[in-house]
Symmetry: C2
Subunit: 205 residues, 2 copies
DNA sequence: GTCTATATGATGATAGAC
DNA sequence: GTCTATCATCATATAGAC
Protein backbone atom coordinates (compact mmCIF):
# COMPACT_ATOMS: atom_id res chain seq x y z
CA UNK A 1 0.00 0.00 0.00
CA UNK A 2 3.05 2.20 0.11
CA UNK A 3 3.04 2.18 -3.65
CA UNK A 4 0.11 3.94 -5.22
CA UNK A 5 -0.88 3.35 -8.76
CA UNK A 6 1.04 5.96 -10.74
CA UNK A 7 -1.68 6.28 -13.35
CA UNK A 8 -4.46 7.40 -11.09
CA UNK A 9 -3.29 10.84 -10.09
CA UNK A 10 -2.21 11.76 -13.59
CA UNK A 11 -5.60 12.15 -15.20
CA UNK A 12 -5.95 15.80 -14.36
CA UNK A 13 -2.47 16.56 -15.63
CA UNK A 14 -3.13 14.56 -18.75
CA UNK A 15 -6.13 16.73 -19.53
CA UNK A 16 -4.12 19.91 -19.06
CA UNK A 17 -1.27 18.67 -21.19
CA UNK A 18 -3.54 17.66 -24.05
CA UNK A 19 -5.66 20.78 -23.93
CA UNK A 20 -2.79 23.27 -24.01
CA UNK A 21 -2.02 22.84 -27.71
CA UNK A 22 -5.73 23.02 -28.52
CA UNK A 23 -6.24 26.30 -26.66
CA UNK A 24 -2.98 27.62 -28.08
CA UNK A 25 -4.04 26.88 -31.63
CA UNK A 26 -7.66 28.03 -31.77
CA UNK A 27 -8.25 29.82 -28.48
CA UNK A 28 -10.90 29.45 -25.82
CA UNK A 29 -13.89 29.87 -28.13
CA UNK A 30 -12.39 27.61 -30.76
CA UNK A 31 -12.05 24.59 -28.51
CA UNK A 32 -15.01 22.54 -27.34
CA UNK A 33 -15.13 20.23 -24.37
CA UNK A 34 -15.74 17.47 -26.90
CA UNK A 35 -12.46 18.34 -28.62
CA UNK A 36 -10.57 18.14 -25.37
CA UNK A 37 -12.26 14.92 -24.34
CA UNK A 38 -11.43 13.36 -27.69
CA UNK A 39 -7.80 14.44 -27.39
CA UNK A 40 -7.55 12.84 -23.98
CA UNK A 41 -9.54 9.76 -24.91
CA UNK A 42 -12.47 10.14 -22.53
CA UNK A 43 -16.02 11.40 -22.78
CA UNK A 44 -16.85 15.06 -22.20
CA UNK A 45 -18.70 14.19 -19.00
CA UNK A 46 -15.50 12.86 -17.44
CA UNK A 47 -13.85 16.27 -17.72
CA UNK A 48 -16.42 17.75 -15.36
CA UNK A 49 -15.22 15.44 -12.61
CA UNK A 50 -11.86 17.25 -12.64
CA UNK A 51 -12.86 20.78 -13.62
CA UNK A 52 -15.94 22.71 -12.63
CA UNK A 53 -16.44 24.15 -16.09
CA UNK A 54 -14.68 24.98 -19.34
CA UNK A 55 -13.34 28.29 -18.07
CA UNK A 56 -11.65 26.70 -15.07
CA UNK A 57 -10.11 24.09 -17.31
CA UNK A 58 -8.80 26.86 -19.54
CA UNK A 59 -7.35 28.86 -16.66
CA UNK A 60 -5.66 25.78 -15.24
CA UNK A 61 -4.31 24.83 -18.66
CA UNK A 62 -2.75 28.25 -19.19
CA UNK A 63 -1.25 28.21 -15.71
CA UNK A 64 0.08 24.72 -16.38
CA UNK A 65 1.69 25.84 -19.63
CA UNK A 66 3.40 28.80 -18.01
CA UNK A 67 4.64 27.30 -14.77
CA UNK A 68 8.31 26.37 -14.83
CA UNK A 69 8.69 28.53 -17.93
CA UNK A 70 8.68 32.04 -16.48
CA UNK A 71 10.51 31.19 -13.26
CA UNK A 72 13.90 30.48 -14.86
CA UNK A 73 13.53 33.56 -17.05
CA UNK A 74 12.99 35.77 -14.05
CA UNK A 75 16.06 34.30 -12.38
CA UNK A 76 18.24 35.46 -15.25
CA UNK A 77 17.31 39.04 -14.50
CA UNK A 78 17.70 38.82 -10.75
CA UNK A 79 21.34 37.77 -10.66
CA UNK A 80 24.05 40.37 -10.18
CA UNK A 81 26.86 41.22 -12.55
CA UNK A 82 27.02 43.22 -15.74
CA UNK A 83 23.51 44.37 -16.68
CA UNK A 84 24.24 44.13 -20.39
CA UNK A 85 25.33 40.54 -20.02
CA UNK A 86 22.18 39.78 -18.08
CA UNK A 87 19.84 41.39 -20.59
CA UNK A 88 21.58 39.58 -23.41
CA UNK A 89 21.19 36.28 -21.57
CA UNK A 90 17.55 37.03 -20.87
CA UNK A 91 16.75 37.99 -24.44
CA UNK A 92 18.61 35.00 -25.84
CA UNK A 93 16.84 32.62 -23.48
CA UNK A 94 13.45 34.11 -24.19
CA UNK A 95 14.00 33.96 -27.94
CA UNK A 96 15.03 30.33 -27.71
CA UNK A 97 12.01 29.56 -25.57
CA UNK A 98 9.64 31.21 -28.03
CA UNK A 99 11.24 29.40 -30.95
CA UNK A 100 10.96 26.03 -29.24
CA UNK A 101 7.59 26.31 -27.53
CA UNK A 102 5.16 27.78 -29.95
CA UNK A 103 2.16 27.07 -27.72
CA UNK A 104 3.66 29.29 -25.04
CA UNK A 105 3.70 32.31 -27.34
CA UNK A 106 0.24 31.76 -28.76
CA UNK A 107 -1.31 31.39 -25.34
CA UNK A 108 0.18 34.76 -24.43
CA UNK A 109 -1.37 36.26 -27.54
CA UNK A 110 -4.77 34.81 -26.64
CA UNK A 111 -4.46 36.30 -23.16
CA UNK A 112 -3.75 39.73 -24.64
CA UNK A 113 -6.90 39.47 -26.74
CA UNK A 114 -9.17 38.08 -24.06
CA UNK A 115 -12.23 40.28 -23.82
CA UNK A 116 -13.40 38.83 -20.51
CA UNK A 117 -11.89 41.22 -18.01
CA UNK A 118 -12.22 38.91 -15.01
CA UNK A 119 -10.57 36.05 -16.83
CA UNK A 120 -7.85 38.25 -18.26
CA UNK A 121 -7.01 39.63 -14.85
CA UNK A 122 -6.65 36.20 -13.29
CA UNK A 123 -4.40 35.16 -16.18
CA UNK A 124 -2.24 38.23 -15.73
CA UNK A 125 -1.97 37.59 -12.01
CA UNK A 126 -0.69 34.05 -12.41
CA UNK A 127 1.38 34.53 -15.52
CA UNK A 128 2.60 37.99 -16.41
CA UNK A 129 2.96 39.99 -13.24
CA UNK A 130 6.15 38.56 -11.76
CA UNK A 131 8.06 38.46 -14.99
CA UNK A 132 7.06 41.92 -16.08
CA UNK A 133 7.93 43.41 -12.72
CA UNK A 134 11.34 41.77 -12.79
CA UNK A 135 11.99 43.09 -16.27
CA UNK A 136 10.79 46.57 -15.38
CA UNK A 137 13.03 46.70 -12.30
CA UNK A 138 15.88 45.48 -14.41
CA UNK A 139 15.20 48.11 -17.06
CA UNK A 140 15.40 50.78 -14.38
CA UNK A 141 18.86 49.53 -13.53
CA UNK A 142 19.96 49.14 -17.12
CA UNK A 143 18.94 52.61 -18.25
CA UNK A 144 18.14 54.83 -15.29
CA UNK A 145 17.26 57.82 -17.43
CA UNK A 146 14.48 56.06 -19.30
CA UNK A 147 10.93 55.21 -18.31
CA UNK A 148 11.42 51.67 -17.00
CA UNK A 149 7.88 50.55 -17.73
CA UNK A 150 8.06 51.79 -21.30
CA UNK A 151 11.45 50.25 -21.84
CA UNK A 152 10.30 46.88 -20.52
CA UNK A 153 7.44 46.95 -23.02
CA UNK A 154 9.85 47.75 -25.83
CA UNK A 155 12.15 44.89 -24.95
CA UNK A 156 9.34 42.36 -24.77
CA UNK A 157 7.89 43.63 -28.02
CA UNK A 158 11.23 43.39 -29.79
CA UNK A 159 11.65 39.77 -28.76
CA UNK A 160 8.09 38.57 -29.23
CA UNK A 161 7.20 40.28 -32.49
CA UNK A 162 9.43 38.28 -34.82
CA UNK A 163 7.67 35.16 -33.55
CA UNK A 164 4.17 36.58 -33.35
CA UNK A 165 4.36 37.66 -36.98
CA UNK A 166 6.03 34.59 -38.35
CA UNK A 167 2.79 33.03 -39.51
CA UNK A 168 2.06 36.00 -41.74
CA UNK A 169 5.59 36.88 -42.77
CA UNK A 170 5.88 33.49 -44.42
CA UNK A 171 3.73 34.94 -47.17
CA UNK A 172 5.79 38.10 -47.58
CA UNK A 173 8.81 38.63 -49.83
CA UNK A 174 12.23 38.79 -48.27
CA UNK A 175 11.34 36.08 -45.80
CA UNK A 176 14.05 33.54 -45.23
CA UNK A 177 14.09 30.63 -42.87
CA UNK A 178 17.20 31.90 -41.11
CA UNK A 179 15.37 35.00 -39.95
CA UNK A 180 13.72 32.81 -37.33
CA UNK A 181 17.03 31.83 -35.74
CA UNK A 182 16.60 32.86 -32.10
CA UNK A 183 20.29 33.53 -31.60
CA UNK A 184 20.39 35.91 -34.56
CA UNK A 185 17.22 37.62 -33.37
CA UNK A 186 18.73 38.09 -29.93
CA UNK A 187 21.91 39.59 -31.39
CA UNK A 188 19.87 41.96 -33.51
CA UNK A 189 17.84 43.16 -30.54
CA UNK A 190 20.80 43.59 -28.20
CA UNK A 191 22.60 45.56 -30.89
CA UNK A 192 19.56 47.76 -31.34
CA UNK A 193 19.29 48.39 -27.62
CA UNK A 194 22.99 49.14 -27.29
CA UNK A 195 23.54 51.45 -30.20
CA UNK A 196 20.34 51.94 -32.11
CA UNK A 197 20.75 51.93 -35.88
CA UNK A 198 23.78 54.19 -35.72
CA UNK A 199 26.01 51.48 -34.35
CA UNK A 200 28.20 49.06 -36.17
CA UNK A 201 26.37 46.98 -38.73
CA UNK A 202 25.42 43.57 -37.46
CA UNK A 203 26.01 42.01 -40.84
CA UNK A 204 29.38 43.73 -41.39
CA UNK A 205 30.88 44.38 -38.01
CA UNK B 1 -35.20 59.15 -61.09
CA UNK B 2 -31.88 60.89 -61.22
CA UNK B 3 -31.89 60.87 -57.44
CA UNK B 4 -31.64 57.47 -55.89
CA UNK B 5 -32.68 56.78 -52.37
CA UNK B 6 -29.48 57.25 -50.33
CA UNK B 7 -30.48 54.65 -47.77
CA UNK B 8 -30.79 51.72 -50.10
CA UNK B 9 -27.21 51.18 -51.09
CA UNK B 10 -25.91 51.58 -47.56
CA UNK B 11 -27.15 48.33 -46.07
CA UNK B 12 -24.06 46.35 -46.92
CA UNK B 13 -21.79 49.05 -45.57
CA UNK B 14 -23.91 49.34 -42.47
CA UNK B 15 -23.39 45.65 -41.75
CA UNK B 16 -19.63 45.98 -42.18
CA UNK B 17 -19.45 49.05 -39.99
CA UNK B 18 -21.42 47.44 -37.18
CA UNK B 19 -19.64 44.12 -37.33
CA UNK B 20 -16.10 45.52 -37.20
CA UNK B 21 -16.21 46.34 -33.46
CA UNK B 22 -17.75 42.94 -32.75
CA UNK B 23 -15.06 41.02 -34.60
CA UNK B 24 -12.39 43.27 -33.10
CA UNK B 25 -13.61 42.61 -29.58
CA UNK B 26 -14.27 38.87 -29.53
CA UNK B 27 -12.88 37.58 -32.80
CA UNK B 28 -14.39 35.43 -35.53
CA UNK B 29 -15.44 32.55 -33.29
CA UNK B 30 -16.79 34.88 -30.62
CA UNK B 31 -19.27 36.62 -32.89
CA UNK B 32 -22.43 34.96 -34.16
CA UNK B 33 -24.52 35.97 -37.12
CA UNK B 34 -27.24 36.64 -34.56
CA UNK B 35 -24.99 39.15 -32.82
CA UNK B 36 -24.27 40.99 -36.03
CA UNK B 37 -27.90 40.95 -37.12
CA UNK B 38 -28.94 42.34 -33.73
CA UNK B 39 -26.31 45.08 -33.93
CA UNK B 40 -27.57 46.11 -37.35
CA UNK B 41 -31.24 45.73 -36.48
CA UNK B 42 -32.21 43.00 -38.90
CA UNK B 43 -32.71 39.25 -38.74
CA UNK B 44 -29.82 36.87 -39.37
CA UNK B 45 -31.40 35.70 -42.60
CA UNK B 46 -31.11 39.19 -44.06
CA UNK B 47 -27.32 39.07 -43.75
CA UNK B 48 -27.16 36.18 -46.19
CA UNK B 49 -28.62 38.36 -48.90
CA UNK B 50 -25.46 40.51 -48.77
CA UNK B 51 -22.80 37.96 -47.81
CA UNK B 52 -22.50 34.36 -48.88
CA UNK B 53 -21.52 33.18 -45.42
CA UNK B 54 -19.99 34.27 -42.13
CA UNK B 55 -16.44 33.95 -43.33
CA UNK B 56 -17.01 36.23 -46.31
CA UNK B 57 -18.65 38.78 -44.04
CA UNK B 58 -15.62 38.62 -41.78
CA UNK B 59 -13.14 39.02 -44.61
CA UNK B 60 -15.06 41.97 -46.00
CA UNK B 61 -15.33 43.54 -42.56
CA UNK B 62 -11.59 43.33 -41.98
CA UNK B 63 -10.91 44.73 -45.43
CA UNK B 64 -13.38 47.52 -44.76
CA UNK B 65 -11.69 48.36 -41.45
CA UNK B 66 -8.25 48.55 -43.04
CA UNK B 67 -8.98 50.36 -46.26
CA UNK B 68 -8.08 54.05 -46.16
CA UNK B 69 -6.05 53.36 -43.05
CA UNK B 70 -2.94 51.75 -44.46
CA UNK B 71 -2.80 53.79 -47.66
CA UNK B 72 -1.90 57.11 -46.00
CA UNK B 73 0.63 55.33 -43.78
CA UNK B 74 2.39 53.89 -46.77
CA UNK B 75 2.53 57.30 -48.40
CA UNK B 76 4.50 58.68 -45.47
CA UNK B 77 7.27 56.21 -46.22
CA UNK B 78 7.31 56.70 -49.97
CA UNK B 79 8.06 60.42 -50.00
CA UNK B 80 11.63 61.65 -50.38
CA UNK B 81 13.63 63.72 -47.93
CA UNK B 82 15.43 62.92 -44.73
CA UNK B 83 14.82 59.26 -43.84
CA UNK B 84 14.86 59.97 -40.11
CA UNK B 85 12.18 62.59 -40.50
CA UNK B 86 10.12 60.18 -42.53
CA UNK B 87 10.43 57.32 -40.05
CA UNK B 88 9.54 59.66 -37.21
CA UNK B 89 6.49 60.87 -39.10
CA UNK B 90 5.49 57.28 -39.85
CA UNK B 91 5.90 56.08 -36.29
CA UNK B 92 4.06 59.08 -34.88
CA UNK B 93 1.20 58.65 -37.32
CA UNK B 94 0.95 54.93 -36.65
CA UNK B 95 0.99 55.44 -32.89
CA UNK B 96 -1.76 58.02 -33.14
CA UNK B 97 -3.78 55.72 -35.35
CA UNK B 98 -3.45 52.83 -32.92
CA UNK B 99 -4.38 55.04 -29.98
CA UNK B 100 -7.46 56.36 -31.72
CA UNK B 101 -8.71 53.25 -33.50
CA UNK B 102 -8.55 50.40 -31.10
CA UNK B 103 -10.53 48.08 -33.38
CA UNK B 104 -7.83 48.45 -36.01
CA UNK B 105 -5.17 47.06 -33.69
CA UNK B 106 -7.27 44.21 -32.34
CA UNK B 107 -8.26 43.05 -35.81
CA UNK B 108 -4.56 42.83 -36.65
CA UNK B 109 -4.00 40.72 -33.56
CA UNK B 110 -6.83 38.38 -34.53
CA UNK B 111 -5.31 38.03 -37.99
CA UNK B 112 -1.96 37.06 -36.46
CA UNK B 113 -3.68 34.35 -34.42
CA UNK B 114 -5.91 33.02 -37.15
CA UNK B 115 -5.38 29.29 -37.43
CA UNK B 116 -7.15 28.98 -40.78
CA UNK B 117 -4.30 29.24 -43.21
CA UNK B 118 -6.43 30.06 -46.24
CA UNK B 119 -8.23 32.83 -44.40
CA UNK B 120 -5.04 34.20 -42.92
CA UNK B 121 -3.39 34.34 -46.29
CA UNK B 122 -6.23 36.25 -47.87
CA UNK B 123 -6.16 38.71 -44.97
CA UNK B 124 -2.44 39.19 -45.33
CA UNK B 125 -2.82 39.78 -49.06
CA UNK B 126 -5.36 42.55 -48.69
CA UNK B 127 -4.05 44.12 -45.53
CA UNK B 128 -0.44 43.59 -44.58
CA UNK B 129 1.56 43.05 -47.71
CA UNK B 130 1.77 46.54 -49.15
CA UNK B 131 2.51 48.26 -45.88
CA UNK B 132 5.12 45.76 -44.78
CA UNK B 133 6.89 45.89 -48.11
CA UNK B 134 7.01 49.68 -47.99
CA UNK B 135 8.41 49.59 -44.49
CA UNK B 136 10.96 46.95 -45.38
CA UNK B 137 12.16 48.91 -48.40
CA UNK B 138 12.36 52.00 -46.25
CA UNK B 139 14.32 50.15 -43.58
CA UNK B 140 16.83 49.13 -46.22
CA UNK B 141 17.34 52.79 -47.03
CA UNK B 142 17.42 53.91 -43.40
CA UNK B 143 20.01 51.40 -42.24
CA UNK B 144 21.68 49.71 -45.22
CA UNK B 145 23.87 47.53 -43.02
CA UNK B 146 20.99 45.82 -41.24
CA UNK B 147 18.64 43.07 -42.34
CA UNK B 148 15.76 45.16 -43.68
CA UNK B 149 13.13 42.51 -43.03
CA UNK B 150 14.22 42.06 -39.44
CA UNK B 151 14.41 45.78 -38.84
CA UNK B 152 10.92 46.31 -40.24
CA UNK B 153 9.61 43.71 -37.80
CA UNK B 154 11.37 45.44 -34.92
CA UNK B 155 9.91 48.82 -35.80
CA UNK B 156 6.37 47.48 -36.07
CA UNK B 157 6.77 45.59 -32.82
CA UNK B 158 8.06 48.63 -30.99
CA UNK B 159 5.07 50.67 -32.06
CA UNK B 160 2.36 48.07 -31.67
CA UNK B 161 3.40 46.44 -28.42
CA UNK B 162 2.61 49.30 -26.07
CA UNK B 163 -0.95 49.20 -27.40
CA UNK B 164 -1.29 45.43 -27.65
CA UNK B 165 -0.32 45.05 -24.01
CA UNK B 166 -2.30 47.95 -22.63
CA UNK B 167 -5.20 45.77 -21.56
CA UNK B 168 -2.94 43.72 -19.30
CA UNK B 169 -0.56 46.45 -18.20
CA UNK B 170 -3.47 48.24 -16.58
CA UNK B 171 -3.23 45.65 -13.83
CA UNK B 172 0.52 46.02 -13.34
CA UNK B 173 2.32 48.43 -11.03
CA UNK B 174 4.08 51.42 -12.54
CA UNK B 175 1.32 51.88 -15.05
CA UNK B 176 0.31 55.47 -15.63
CA UNK B 177 -2.22 56.85 -18.00
CA UNK B 178 0.36 59.06 -19.70
CA UNK B 179 2.31 56.03 -20.86
CA UNK B 180 -0.34 55.61 -23.53
CA UNK B 181 0.35 59.01 -25.07
CA UNK B 182 1.13 58.19 -28.70
CA UNK B 183 3.43 61.19 -29.12
CA UNK B 184 5.53 60.14 -26.13
CA UNK B 185 5.61 56.56 -27.36
CA UNK B 186 6.79 57.72 -30.76
CA UNK B 187 9.56 59.85 -29.23
CA UNK B 188 10.68 56.91 -27.12
CA UNK B 189 10.87 54.61 -30.11
CA UNK B 190 12.65 57.07 -32.38
CA UNK B 191 15.17 57.73 -29.62
CA UNK B 192 15.73 54.02 -29.23
CA UNK B 193 16.25 53.54 -32.95
CA UNK B 194 18.60 56.49 -33.19
CA UNK B 195 20.84 55.89 -30.23
CA UNK B 196 19.78 52.77 -28.36
CA UNK B 197 19.89 53.11 -24.61
CA UNK B 198 23.28 54.75 -24.66
CA UNK B 199 21.97 58.02 -25.99
CA UNK B 200 20.78 61.06 -24.15
CA UNK B 201 18.02 60.35 -21.67
CA UNK B 202 14.61 61.09 -23.04
CA UNK B 203 13.36 62.26 -19.67
CA UNK B 204 16.40 64.46 -18.96
CA UNK B 205 17.79 65.59 -22.25
C1' DG C 1 -34.60 42.86 -49.32
C1' DT C 2 -36.37 41.51 -45.31
C1' DC C 3 -39.26 38.68 -42.95
C1' DT C 4 -41.02 33.97 -40.47
C1' DA C 5 -40.09 29.45 -39.92
C1' DT C 6 -37.19 25.81 -39.80
C1' DA C 7 -33.55 22.28 -40.93
C1' DT C 8 -29.45 20.42 -39.02
C1' DG C 9 -25.98 20.12 -36.08
C1' DA C 10 -22.69 21.72 -32.31
C1' DT C 11 -22.34 23.49 -27.72
C1' DG C 12 -21.82 23.48 -22.32
C1' DA C 13 -23.44 21.03 -18.78
C1' DT C 14 -26.02 17.45 -15.88
C1' DA C 15 -28.34 12.92 -14.07
C1' DG C 16 -27.77 8.57 -12.93
C1' DA C 17 -26.06 3.71 -14.05
C1' DC C 18 -21.90 1.05 -13.39
C1' DG D 1 -14.11 8.10 -12.11
C1' DT D 2 -15.94 7.14 -16.22
C1' DC D 3 -19.64 5.89 -18.78
C1' DT D 4 -24.46 6.48 -21.57
C1' DA D 5 -28.03 9.33 -22.35
C1' DT D 6 -29.95 13.57 -22.50
C1' DC D 7 -31.34 18.54 -21.94
C1' DA D 8 -31.57 23.21 -23.27
C1' DT D 9 -29.47 26.37 -25.89
C1' DC D 10 -26.93 28.09 -29.34
C1' DA D 11 -24.78 27.91 -34.01
C1' DT D 12 -24.84 28.47 -39.44
C1' DA D 13 -27.57 28.39 -43.09
C1' DT D 14 -31.79 27.83 -46.14
C1' DA D 15 -36.82 27.98 -48.07
C1' DG D 16 -40.38 30.51 -49.24
C1' DA D 17 -43.95 34.20 -48.06
C1' DC D 18 -44.47 39.15 -48.58
Amino acid sequence: MAEKAPKKKKMREEVLERSVPLFATVGFDGVSMRDIAAAVGVTPAALYHHFSDKEQLYLDAVGYAFEEKVGPLKTLLDGGGNPWERIEAFITRLANLLAAERDFLRLMQWVLLDSDERRQRSLVDCVFRDLFNALRDFAAELAPGHDAHRLAVSIIGLVLYPFETQSVRRFLPGYTHQQEDPEAIARHIVGLLRNGLGGINEENP
